[in-house]
Symmetry: C2
Subunit: 149 residues, 2 copies
């Protein structure tokens, strides 16, 4: 099973979103090894993109979440994860941008660009929805009751 | 401005979702008169649909949120609200179902069926996303900074 690295910018300020993020991350850990990396926000000297880039290894498979990406459903996301497991990928790095998306040089690193929703959401809530969908994907793969359409 | 009635089933159990719901409802109240009605869950004697139906007035414009509905974007939702205001509607009743959607007799009451997302979300989180989108719609109509694409 590929290790999941969730690469984000900054920490969540909203306590309710933070609680939901923790809840879903805890659930995801029952299925796979994962790590949340909250890269530093940009400073005057160091752009955000630099902070993100140094967290990406050369062998990583990089997935960027972006509203212009390929739309994927909950079951489609599960199939995608299953495919990676079949391919024996070691690390999948998910890049979940902040309020203003990510820089072009990050986009170039992406092996795959996915869009989870055509809705514009505040980035803190978008992060919660993302983690819930990853958790849901694992329950789908295990045939568990959580997901029903 | 049409009064917004948010007709749901049961109250939220997850404290974080409840906090987010309260936050967005509070923000929506800055723009329009609104009311959250949490109809009773079904009992052995009274189905959920009956509890919902008695909250709908004969002159109400009824919008059902359903994954099989017409997909609408954040800006599309704003345009829809603007249209109703132009038409002088008194009350718009939004039906936001529980985990298992709503009964057929409720679907028949709907003047419009909208889908906010192709994702399957837990109904408590879906409710939060819905309220955030209603709030966002008002900020779009007012040309406020909150929304950027």
């Amino acid at each position: 099973m590929a290790k999941m690295i969730f690469l984000t910018v900054g920490s969540l300020k909203n306590k309710a979103c933070l609680a939901l993020q923790e809840e879903y991350l805890g659930r995801i850990r029952h299925y796979t090894s994962c790590e949340l990396i909250e890269a530093r926000d940009a400073t005057q000297k160091i752009p955000e993109s630099e902070n993100l880039l140094k967290k990406i290894g050369s062998g990583d498979f990089v997935v960027l979440l972006d509203e212009k990406g390929k739309t994927v459903s909950s079951t489609g996301l599960a199939q995608q994860i299953q495919k990676w497991n079949g391919q024996g990928l070691k690390r999948v790095v998910w890049i979940v941008g902040g309020a203003f998306g990510v820089a072009e040089e990050i986009k170039k690193k992406a092996n795959l660009v996915l869009s989870l929703s055509s809705l514009t959401l505040p980035h803190e809530l978008a992060r919660v929805v993302f983690f819930e969908q990853i958790y849901r994907a694992f329950t789908i793969l295990k045939g568990e009751k959580y997901h029903h359409e």
